[in-house]
Symmetry: C2
Subunit: 151 residues, 2 copies
DNA sequence: TCCACATACTTCAACCTTAAAATATTTTTA
DNA sequence: TAAAAATATTTTAAGGTTGAAGTATGTGGA
């Protein structure tokens, strides 16, 4: 196998990877929209905050989600309007806000997260638990090595 | 292994999958922007058209790319402005347009595609050609079964 | 003190994205 | 052939995304 054809195989892997990822993502977006009138970015924000019951600052949230600061502002704005989140002032730092799920937000997220898990479970049914765990580990390693390349 | 923990493993697989996919995609977007002042959607359109030298109709393009009709309109508009694409009238059907790469567009795409392949080759270096081929096949199968679920 | 720098966040302009509505044209049907 | 249905595309409204610029506040020297 030449280096050149190895490169072609990796490209093919990426194209398949991207296609599968987009197909699953599109299905999730569609389900979120139809069943909950919501979106994947909103779900991602709720998921992040559900893991930090003390709340996160805007900048921490954008770190965790790996999206830009300005992006988070808009999504949080809309979730606050909808009563899913609250912004709480941080003592001794008038620049910062702590963002938290409201009780209603927690309830809403619990419902959506359960549905989300079952959609994934159906879509990835052809992966047995052993396989799933192996590939997940491999991807975790890949993602880590990518993060080391670009600090 | 209970069904419940199998579901949890599949969820974990999806989360890793998504994270890795987003990390790679982010790197490609960044490279395209910095090196070519372009974007992934533009690259995707050029890639699709490079496989069809006779050109594609707008609706065929949105089929191939699996994005909405209206979306393609805007991207093609900008690529036409930049001299990368042309819209050609279709004989006997005044509703439709055929979109093609210009000679300059073909040249531009060849350059970007070569760079793109080498970025992927570096990022996925830890996958040997055999591995890459195996996983690609598996993902192809997954994507196909997803397409059957949602026609 | 005060001034430079850093930090936290928002705003902005440009682009991507979708679903739904609108426009134009072609094809089918009554 | 006139009306209805189908097809091809664009427009629109709402949201997501980014990098860069802008605002406000905090911090650490000279």
């Amino acid at each position: 196998m030449t280096e050149d054809s190895a490169s072609k195989e990796r490209l093919r892997l990426w194209l398949r990877f991207l296609k599968a990822s987009r197909a699953i993502e599109a299905q999730i977006r569609d389900n979120l929209r139809r069943e909950f009138g919501s979106t994947l970015p909103r779900f991602d924000v709720m998921a992040a905050l559900s893991r930090y019951s003390d709340g996160l600052k805007m900048s921490q949230l954008s770190d965790v989600l790996r999206v830009s600061n300005g992006n988070v502002t808009g999504i949080v704005d809309r979730l606050v309007e909808d009563g899913i989140l609250v912004r709480v002032a941080v003592p001794n730092d008038r620049r910062a806000w702590l963002v938290q799920l409201t009780p209603r937000g927690e309830l809403e997220f619990a419902t959506q997260a359960a549905a989300h898990e079952s959609w994934i479970n159906e879509m990835l049914a052809e992966f047995g638990p052993k396989d799933a765990a192996n590939i997940a580990n491999r991807l975790e390693h890949l993602e880590q090595s990518l993060r080391e390349r670009t600090p």
